[in-house]
Symmetry: C2
Subunit: 191 residues, 2 copies
């Protein structure tokens, strides 16, 4: 028999305590939400220490994502990929920043608690975002936990910027590192 159905979910706690109606105007507000999601994910035991959110041109949430690799036995279910898929499903836009006729809809932003791994890096190339906001660096992830970030193009920032995706790093880096450090001390799974 061939399996033909994939079903992925966010944990139930996302429906409590996140203000999905308010704007998150500053870059720091957006990354703070991503880090808060990463923290809540490990507190709830609902996945790894990673959170992300996609914001529309009005600075409001289009989607959020957290790592769901272990609960779903799915190596694709990273925070960034969950957020991309949920934003695309909500907007029914395969490129989040283009409408049905291929016209720009205004800047789309992904905020993530840690630098995207090799898989989320590639997903970021296709998702249709204009801005990528990052908390912790890869070296933070790899030094504070046993997670591996995987192989990237040497100039990974330049390759994104060549495609019109602006990258901003080290936003609330210390707060993002605190969550990673706490997860590293818990000795949880590192998929």
């Amino acid at each position: 028999m061939l399996y033909a159905q994939i079903h992925l979910t966010l944990p139930a706690w996302v429906h409590e305590g996140i203000d999905a109606a308010r704007p998150y105007p500053r870059d720091a507000d957006k990354v703070a939400l991503a880090i808060e999601l990463s923290r809540r994910n490990i507190d709830a035991g609902s996945g790894g220490p990673f959170g992300a959110a996609v914001f529309g041109p009005d600075d409001r949430i289009l989607s959020i994502g957290v790592n769901r690799v272990m609960p779903h036995a799915c190596s694709l279910a990273h925070a960034e990929t969950m957020a991309y898929m949920l934003a695309q499903q909500r907007t029914q836009r395969v490129r989040l920043n283009l409408d049905e006729e291929g016209r720009p809809v205004g800047p789309i932003t992904l905020a993530t608690s840690s630098q995207p791994c090799c898989q989320c890096y590639g997903a970021t190339v296709w998702a249709g975002i204009d801005r990528l906001l990052i908390g912790a660096r890869s070296e933070d992830v790899e030094s504070l936990t046993d997670f591996d970030e995987g192989p990237l193009p040497l100039d990974w920032v330049g390759a994104l910027e060549a495609r019109g995706i602006v990258v901003a790093r080290d936003i609330h880096r210390d707060a993002a590192r605190d969550v990673l450090r706490r997860y590293g001390e818990l000795d949880g799974p590192t998929y």
Copy 2:
């Protein structure tokens, strides 16, 4: 309101005409199936010209995948990523080649009709495969269609092989190119 559910499917035709019980012992048999899936996907209008399949240590199908980007408005729904997610869901193994205690289960193979793009490249690093079998090259995809393969590490083969993933290319390359060429002439969407 926050979206929290993702549902992805293969087209209904996968349940007809694919022998999921027989072994596919040779590399060429495995890639031929991936190319056949790519061909059927464009004939049915159910997605882009890409197919893939995951095989277990007994050379039987663990899962198949085809490109479902446009039907699902989901840039993650590439052939390889669909195949990985479906094989992981079936086996409940987050690394396809490791059991619950982290012991190797025997070689796991992905066959794909075309070289993985940057996103599927990253997904391949985490999925837990031992062998990657490829039909058409990236330059075939980019010369015969308007699809873009995205930025990869300079030595992308070497980076996989350093992680224990053996790469074999140009298997039935001409047959894979034929499907790409036909899709290119159709002028279908290139997401």
